[in-house]
């Protein structure tokens, strides 16, 4: 039996300055627990309270979006998995990156939405956010208000980066990266 080379994995994490990572089915309580760990790491790193809150907030919106999407699509545990990373980059920014499996068509639409948001300045993002906030709530949707992605774009200090990797003809892996 072949074992996983944990040391090379660790080296990879360290080289990429990954503070926290998660890969697997994600539950409501897991989001909270990982969020708690994230808060503690940021505090231990002496992050500015505003930066710490932005990182935490982006993490929450991204993971809750993934949960809501998986629920809306009726995905099982395996498909509801999320891949989440919080890291530092060379400019000492925090990177929050999260990805999940999506229907290929949804992925294309999402990517177009991310690109549209990435092209807006802060004033345009605020106006888009306020417009979305005023949209009547969809009676069938018990959860999101469609604000999460805009909120993430507003908090990111650089334009959001979205990516779509095809898995097969029907599905793809969508990932999103924000910067603090």
């Amino acid at each position: 039996m072949e074992t996983i080379d944990l040391f090379s994995l660790r080296t990879h994490f360290n080289r990429n300055r990954i503070l926290l990572c998660f890969n697997g089915p994600i539950s409501r309580s897991l989001i909270e627990e990982i969020g708690n760990a994230l808060k503690n790491y940021l505090q231990a790193e002496n992050a500015q309270p505003t930066a710490a809150m932005d990182v935490f907030s982006i993490y929450i919106e991204m993971t809750q979006n993934i949960r809501h999407y998986a629920q809306s699509r009726g995905y099982g545990d395996l498909e509801s998995a999320a891949t989440v990373i919080v890291a530092r980059d060379a400019e000492e920014r925090y990177l929050v990156q999260a990805g999940n499996i999506v229907e290929a068509a949804d992925g294309e639409a999402l990517l177009a939405r991310v690109d549209a948001l990435a092209s807006m300045d802060k004033a345009q993002l605020k106006a888009t956010y306020k417009t979305q906030l005023r949209q009547p709530r969809d009676a069938a949707a018990t959860t999101g208000a469609g604000l999460g992605l805009i909120d993430v774009a507003r908090k990111s200090s650089l334009p959001l980066k979205g990516n779509l990797s095809p898995i097969d003809e029907e599905r793809a892996f969508f990932s999103l990266c924000a910067f603090i």
């Binding site: 309270p49 919106e61 906030l133």
Partner: protein, 126 residues
Amino acid sequence: MNDLNIASSQSTPGIESDTNAGILRMHGDSYPENSFEFFDPIIQWIEDYLRLRSEALHLELRLVYMNTSSVKAMMDIFDMLEDAHGRGRAVSVAWYYDPRNERVLDLADEFREDCSFPFDIAAAPQ
């Protein structure tokens, strides 16, 4: 009408109401997965208070982090207060924040932009 007394949890704020004093207090973080479910009884209490009572209503807030679905629910609450204010009811909000974290000030300030009733935002060292 019954008063609310909801203990805070990791992802939901603590809520206390005092019907006789006309005060509703909310404090802590708010990022439940289903915010509408969480905020439902609070919205109900405010509706009842505004319908059954004629005295003033004051919201005392020490909310810190809110996810976007909590923000949406909170906006529904401020819209109710705005309507009541338009009908001549005395309503007011005071939002206290830790001055070390200006994000809370930004959040409260953005809500206040859409409200014409008295809405104070004050730094309160923790």
